[in-house]
């Protein structure tokens, strides 16, 4: 496991000096999985045969010398809603339990080009709907810090596998907080890039106007490297942004002098665990000591964000999930009476409760007579929420607050109460609605469970977000803590 605590540069130096081989890295990954997986359950499918083959090919390349990819030899986990050719992609759903993709997502192609090694596919809430991994239709992933607690979600497997040292880094997807919240709960670094920076081609769509792929890593520098490898315009995604991609690692100067930080009072008010608030205030004093300044600001429409999000995301989901009809892929129900019955039975047998609930909510919000009252209204409130951010960013470089209002909660504690579960996302959802980038970094512990600090930036200004996160990491020890497994 200590191997995966090394910085990317140090791993690469060891590979260069022949102190380490890619095969040893990959073996270390599977050995750690064998040791910890019975307790953690982070994976749905392992890719062991292919990964070992690829490792020996990369070792050959290492012997021969020459140019190597940015993520050369690093064992990676991929969330199971990102399609991988020839490797099952289930979205943690019974419906797709046999789905064998015929192409790679753009990010997977980019990982291959960067020469990381895909170790396996990671557990999640079914179709990325949930914040605890309890909605996986196979089994829940558990938090490596305490296996009685959830790892967060929906990228819970992605976060737990990195925290448990099973893989070097992972990819997750974030629609309303699904990278940042599990990163916070598991004590690692999770970055949600600006909407449109990373291609969604091959990401099984949940809410198309919000979904974004991003890296989960043990430190900020590695986050910058992985982002470098996966960012960029892609004609395969019509919402891909055609922007220039800067060199993210060169932004990690450690210098935050003069940075102006806004701290939304809504993110530290009622409902925020006092231990979380205290950890955030301490982090702010670190920034002050480094020459940055912070002031309280307001994002006045925060209280409307969750209702807005659940109407919009569920509406988009009800439309996106219409494709799962049991005709072209997925598990088809047996003995349907006719075509409509085939659709109904296949969907009803294949989808879990949360997925059905959101399809129902979305279908209702889009249905004749209710569209204006719910869907259109929510789209208008989204404009107000985005304007809140625009206003603060006209005077501040960054917005900082907690990633989640509390540390991880116990498995089973919030099942059956969707509204309470939704409220865990109060600090991440507004950011998703505004489409801006945000990172969660470890900033403390409460009763043995990690707390996450959320650093939010202007659209396409990942460089400043990473710079500030990196500077904090350089001057604190929180990111060095590891769960005892």
């Amino acid at each position: 496991m200590a191997l995966f605590d090394l910085r990317l540069q140090d791993v690469h130096n060891k590979l260069n000096n022949k102190e380490l081989s890619v095969s040893e890295l990959v073996s270390a990954s599977y050995a750690r999985i064998a040791e910890t997986e019975p307790a953690i359950k982070a994976f749905i499918t392992l890719n062991e045969e292919q990964a070992r083959l690829q490792a020996s090919e990369l070792d050959k390349q290492l012997q021969e010398g020459g140019e190597r990819g940015l993520l050369f030899g690093l064992p990676a986990g991929v969330k199971d809603n990102i399609v991988t050719e020839g490797l099952l992609t289930t979205c943690a759903s019974q419906f797709l339990s046999n789905y064998d993709p015929i192409y790679d997502a753009t990010v997977v192609r980019k990982l291959k080009a960067a020469q990381s090694v895909t170790i396996g596919k990671l557990n999640m809430d079914e179709f990325a709907m949930g914040g605890s991994n309890e909605n996986s239709s196979f089994y829940p992933t558990r938090n490596p810090w305490n296996t009685e607690f959830v790892p967060g979600g929906s990228s819970g497997g992605s976060a737990a596998s990195v925290a448990a040292g099973q893989v070097y880094f992972s990819l997750g997807s974030d629609t309303g907080g699904s990278i940042r919240q599990p990163a916070a709960y598991c004590g690692i670094v999770g970055l949600k890039p600006t909407y449109g920076l990373v291609s969604r081609f091959g990401l099984v769509a949940f809410a198309s106007s919000l979904d974004q792929i991003g890296p989960l890593t043990k430190n900020v520098e590695d986050s910058a490297y992985v982002l470098q490898a996966i960012a960029g315009y892609d004609a395969g995604d019509s919402t891909s942004a055609n922007v220039e991609i800067p060199d993210y690692t060169s932004a990690l100067t450690g210098d935050v002098k003069g940075l102006r930080i806004g701290v939304p009072k809504e993110y530290l008010g009622a409902g925020i665990d006092p231990r979380v608030k205290e950890a955030v205030l301490q982090a702010l004093s670190v920034y002050e000591s480094l020459g940055a300044t912070w002031e309280e600001v307001s994002l006045p429409h925060t209280e409307y964000a969750i209702a807005t999000y659940y109407l919009l995301a569920s509406s988009e989901a009800s439309s996106n999930l219409a494709r799962f009809d049991g005709v072209r892929y997925g598990v088809r129900a047996e003995n349907p009476e006719n075509l409509i019955d085939l659709y109904k039975k296949s969907r009803s047998e294949g989808f879990g409760a949360e997925v059905k609930r959101r399809i129902m909510l979305g279908t209702y919000a889009l249905s004749s007579g209710y569209y204006d009252a719910y869907y259109l209204k929510a789209q208008k409130v989204r404009t107000l929420i985005k304007q809140d951010f625009d206003q603060v960013f006209s005077q501040y470089d960054l917005i900082i607050g907690p990633t989640a209002p509390t540390p991880a909660f116990r498995i089973g504690e919030q099942v059956g109460d969707p509204l309470t579960m939704y409220l865990n996302d109060i600090c991440t959802i507004p950011v998703s609605l505004a489409g801006v980038p945000a990172i969660s970094v470890p900033c403390g512990m409460a009763d043995g469970l990690p707390i996450g600090l959320q650093i939010i930036g202007k659209a396409f200004d990942e460089s400043t977000v990473l710079r500030a996160a990196h500077a904090f990491e350089q001057h604190t020890e929180h990111h060095k803590q590891r769960p005892q497994l």
């Binding site: 449109g196 919402t239 059905k356």
Partner: protein, 95 residues
Amino acid sequence: MSITPKDVEHVARLARLELSDSEKDQFTEQLNAILKYAEKLNGLDTENVEPTSHVLPITNVMRADENRPSLPIEKVLLNAPDEEDGQFKVPAVLE
């Protein structure tokens, strides 16, 4: 506005879902709770606010109208639950 079990049945039909009686009861209760919570949006005046469908200023992304290779048929059918003669097979639609 409140949702009745009849509304839930109607929406389930639109969504091509078949719900058990207990699911119907549960969803009626839960959707009412969620929609009641969503009613707080009505407290905001959005009379002169434009809707946001998308945060990026992108509209009508076009590409040149040129032929590109298609996927081979055996790949397309790889995941088909049922197929015949290179086509997806479903129960008869017409009598």
